[in-house]
């Protein structure tokens, strides 16, 4: 599957600082991700940010974030 067709998942983040910390951590570990604004309605709290990444990295990414104490919210598949 080429990169353009790769399925993307989003990890909702608790704040912009956590999103930036997460992006730095995952990119440094070659789990390529980017900070995006969450799609409308994806969080009950209103606007927020998330990490968009290939769904194939998702499990490892979540583990890595939790291990580093980086707070995150729901995962959007």
């Amino acid at each position: 599957m080429n990169k353009a067709n790769e399925r993307k998942c989003i990890i909702a983040m608790s704040s912009m600082t956590y999103a930036m910390r997460g992006e730095t951590l995952l990119n440094n570990n070659r789990l390529y991700t980017r900070v995006i604004k969450l799609p409308k309605g994806s969080t009950p709290k209103g606007c927020g940010y998330g990490l968009e990444l290939s769904c194939s990295f998702l499990e490892r990414a979540v583990q890595m974030l939790e291990h580093a104490g980086i707070k995150h919210g729901i995962v959007l598949r």
Binding site: T17, M20, V35, T43, K45, G46, C47, Y49, G69
Partner: protein, 390 residues
Amino acid sequence: MIYFDNGATTLPKPDGVFRAVRHAMGLGNPGRGGHNLSLQGARLLYSVREHFCTHFSAPSPNHVCFFYSATEALNRVMKSVLYQGGTVLISDMEHNAVRRPALSLARRGGTVCYFKGHGREEEIVSSFGAAVKEAHRAGRDVKLAVFLHTSNICRQTLPVKKLTDLCRKNEILSLVDCAQAAGHLPLHLQDLGADGLCMPSHKGLFGIAGAGVLLCSPKLKDTLEQVPTLVQGGAGSASLEEDMPLFLPERLEAGTPGLPAIASMGAGLSFIEKRGYEQISGQLSMLYKHCADRLMHIQGITLQASELRGIGPLLFTADHMDNAVLSDALSARGVCVREGLHCAPLAHDSIGTGRDGGIRVSFSVFNTTAQIDRFVCILKEELCAAGACR
């Protein structure tokens, strides 16, 4: 122009600071949108946060909070920790950035206790211990101790580690005002054992005015996440919630951050790292000594608090002339020094310069001994012209 008022704001600023401000002015509002310029702004903000975290050994970037000044940072912590009352312990050398919020808390039912913040290290530590004991004996709940790292009026550095050790032993949170120390010598939150360090952008960190930082320990972070916020507003996320976000730093950072000022601090920090603290503190000590050695031989001038040790500015008074008049005369000759109370009447009272204060000479790494020699020459001429060189 000879600029010796670096204790108020450092001048000139390094070239990198101008570049950083210009760059930040071209970016969007950090964390306020999903478009490229907003995200670039957020990345820049985060990179400075990370830089401060590493440089000052904070536990994580979440323990680095940006405010609009160090005064605001100090106020926010003091008023948050003591929002339900209690006692705050401060030194008798504090700037109004600490004294006034402490007195304001006292007017609202809290208590302020003082300890001696000048003199020999043992005297300061012993005075601190005695103040804690006395407060406990009186049944007071001492929640927070706030003290400066380095005085803004004279050469006095407090034994911060020993004081924070006493705080921990007595379960008191400690907050250190590093306004005059940051950028002059290495400061490590964890090595100092402090719960909070506050510092402004525009002094030793060589940034522009409009930003201040709080670096906090896990314990202070937990406290600040549990108490009500003093300022509320947009935070860029969780907008439907009535309260501010639950986590630091966003919980404390309501409103648009001053990105150009924050970026300038980051560039200032890079300048400091390139120079190295050994060179910076060595040069500041050398300039102090060079100036003090010359001033002490001038008739009609008294060096104040010259017996004190540490880093910090040089303070003198004119024996037969109004300090403000002398300072004015120096200004007319192109010398910038600061006379008066330096927003620290408590400290002037403590060292004996009372209501009149003195003339402060504060250096940066851009100053030279040649400038000091010229200043000394002008000073002598002005004193004699006023008939005050007796």
